[in-house]
């Protein structure tokens, strides 16, 4: 891979306002959903482990459920606004596409050999895959959550997940996937802290695109 030549940088909006607002609302909502969800899991663990008591929200099952069923509106409605914006304003198309297995493989190998260049304002293929996966996991969490909340009223949806007991497992696995994404996401922000500033101000110094690629 060639190293990009030094080019003049200019301050550009790399995260649109809608993305920034929905990102931070989502951060709060996911915090509440995750830690209250762990407390609910602990009431009847699906697997032979429980979450540590210091990492759960709500104090007791009733409190945890109250948090979960309050924050779910924030998570779902904010997520819906983000999806609508992403599709209508073509944010998904410009930020996450094109995305091909070949590109993911190439960028993943480059990243592991520490040869992947961080281009401000443009996602590499691994990032694109991760963000698309996070969106898919979020949609899966809301859909499987609805299947668990209303397995009688919305039984067609619950059946789509293979019934109530399978919906519990899907909900758990999607949570685990999203938690994994968040760990990776936070680790990368810790490595490149300027990205945190950009998600607040929306602006970053972006190198001019070289004319020859």
């Amino acid at each position: 891979m060639t190293i990009l030549p030094e080019t003049p940088a200019r301050l550009t909006v790399i995260h649109p306002l809608v993305v920034r607002i929905t990102h931070w609302i989502n951060a709060v909502a996911v915090f509440c959903m995750l830690f209250s969800g762990w407390a609910i899991y602990n009431a009847s663990p699906l697997f032979p482990f429980a979450f540590p008591k210091w990492a759960v929200l709500g104090g007791w099952l009733g409190g945890a459920l109250a948090w979960h069923f309050a924050a779910m509106w924030l998570f779902a409605l904010n997520g819906l606004a983000y999806l609508a914006y992403g599709l209508v304003a073509r944010h998904f198309a410009t930020a996450f596409l094109p995305l091909s297995p070949g590109a993911v493989w190439r960028d993943a190998r480059a990243a592991l050999r520490l040869r992947l260049i961080h281009r401000v304002g443009r996602y590499n293929a691994v990032q694109r895959l991760a963000y698309v996966a996070a969106v898919v996991l979020g949609v899966t969490l809301v859909a499987s959550g609805c299947a668990l909340w209303k397995p009688v009223q919305w039984q067609a949806l619950t059946n789509l997940f293979g019934g109530y007991e399978w919906a519990r497992r899907v909900h758990f696995l999607a949570m685990a996937g999203l938690a994994g994404f968040i760990l990776l996401h936070l680790a990368l922000v810790a490595i490149v802290p300027s990205t945190l500033v950009a998600m607040i101000t929306g602006r970053a110094r972006v190198a001019e695109e070289p004319t020859v690629r």
């Binding site: 609910i40 899991y41 009431a43 009847s44 699906l46 008591k53 210091w54 929200l57 709500g58 104090g59 007791w60 099952l61 009733g62 409190g63 459920l65 109250a66 948090w67 069923f69 309050a70 509106w73 909340w149 209303k150 397995p151 009688v152 009223q153 039984q155 109530y164 007991e165 519990r168």
Partner: protein, 259 residues
């Protein structure tokens, strides 16, 4: 009532089965007490415990729960039936659930048991088991979903609550049907859920008269709601327009809890 040796043996086995769970429950309570001195101090008053007039967080959580009641009332379709299952899918043994250990299951004597009916009903005469058995019976195999997350399939039989309310001349336009139980549990349903065709006053479980641990002699069974909405050992039924709450609901479980 003196329990027969079979019942005693079964209850003894039940106590043995849930002993580890009770021990872990005790550990949990101790741990919770200890932790509240530590990390969770920051979050106390965020667990519904200060009530709907308590801390800001608790006020918001209680208000959201009441809003969720309204959303669920709106989502509830009286014509949608809970899925039913073949007998081959019935789960055995079926879990015992209560807010107390099996030692405290109330002992009820059939000879003196009477079901009181009060509130907005025309006929307040008490009911005997015999009278209830004489009403049209209904049996279903449905999924019991606990608020804790687990679920089991069981078979309940008895009188549709709608039939009972009609026979007693209840005001079917009233808002709530409430239940008082011999084990000091209490609960209530919204009228549309009480009139749902699958909501029954259960006399039988698994084709047999209710065993003590499953709510002898009478329990309500509401397959369109979470398990805690189906009180056991019912001693009185009342119809009212004043919100009656419930044992768990008053502590913070969502009241409607429809599924």
């Amino acid at each position: 009532m003196i329990r027969d040796p079979d019942t005693n043996a079964r209850l003894k086995a039940l106590r043995r089965d849930i002993a580890p769970e009770l021990a872990s429950l005790e550990r949990r309570l101790v741990l919770r007490g200890g932790l509240s001195l530590g990390a969770l101090t920051l979050l106390s008053g965020c667990d519904l415990s200060t009530g709907s007039n308590g801390t800001l967080a608790d006020r918001v959580l209680w208000a959201m729960s009441r809003a969720n009641d309204r959303v669920q009332q709106w989502l509830f379709d009286p014509a949608t039936l809970a899925p039913t299952y073949p007998a081959s899918m019935i789960d055995t043994p079926f879990r015992f659930n209560a807010y107390y250990p099996p030692d405290n299951i109330p002992e009820i004597d059939e000879a003196t048991w009477k079901l009181e009916v009060t509130g907005l009903v025309a006929d307040k005469a008490p009911w005997t088991l015999e009278k209830l058995r004489a009403l049209p019976q209904e049996s279903q195999i449905t999924r019991h979903i606990c608020i804790e997350g687990w679920s089991q399939i069981g078979q309940w039989g008895g009188v549709p609550l709608r039939t009972f309310l009609e026979r007693t001349g209840a005001d079917l336009t009233a808002k709530y049907v409430g239940f008082k139980c011999a084990d000091r549990y209490y609960g209530s349903l919204d009228m549309p859920s009480a009139l749902h065709p699958q909501t029954i006053l259960a006399l039988d479980f698994a084709g047999q008269p209710l065993a003590p641990e499953y709510g002898y002699p009478l329990r309500v069974r509401v397959p369109t709601k979470l398990g805690f909405k189906s009180p056991k050992h019912i001693a009185a039924i009342f119809v009212t327009n004043d919100y009656p709450g419930g044992y768990w609901e008053d502590q913070g479980y969502n009241w409607f809890s429809g599924i």
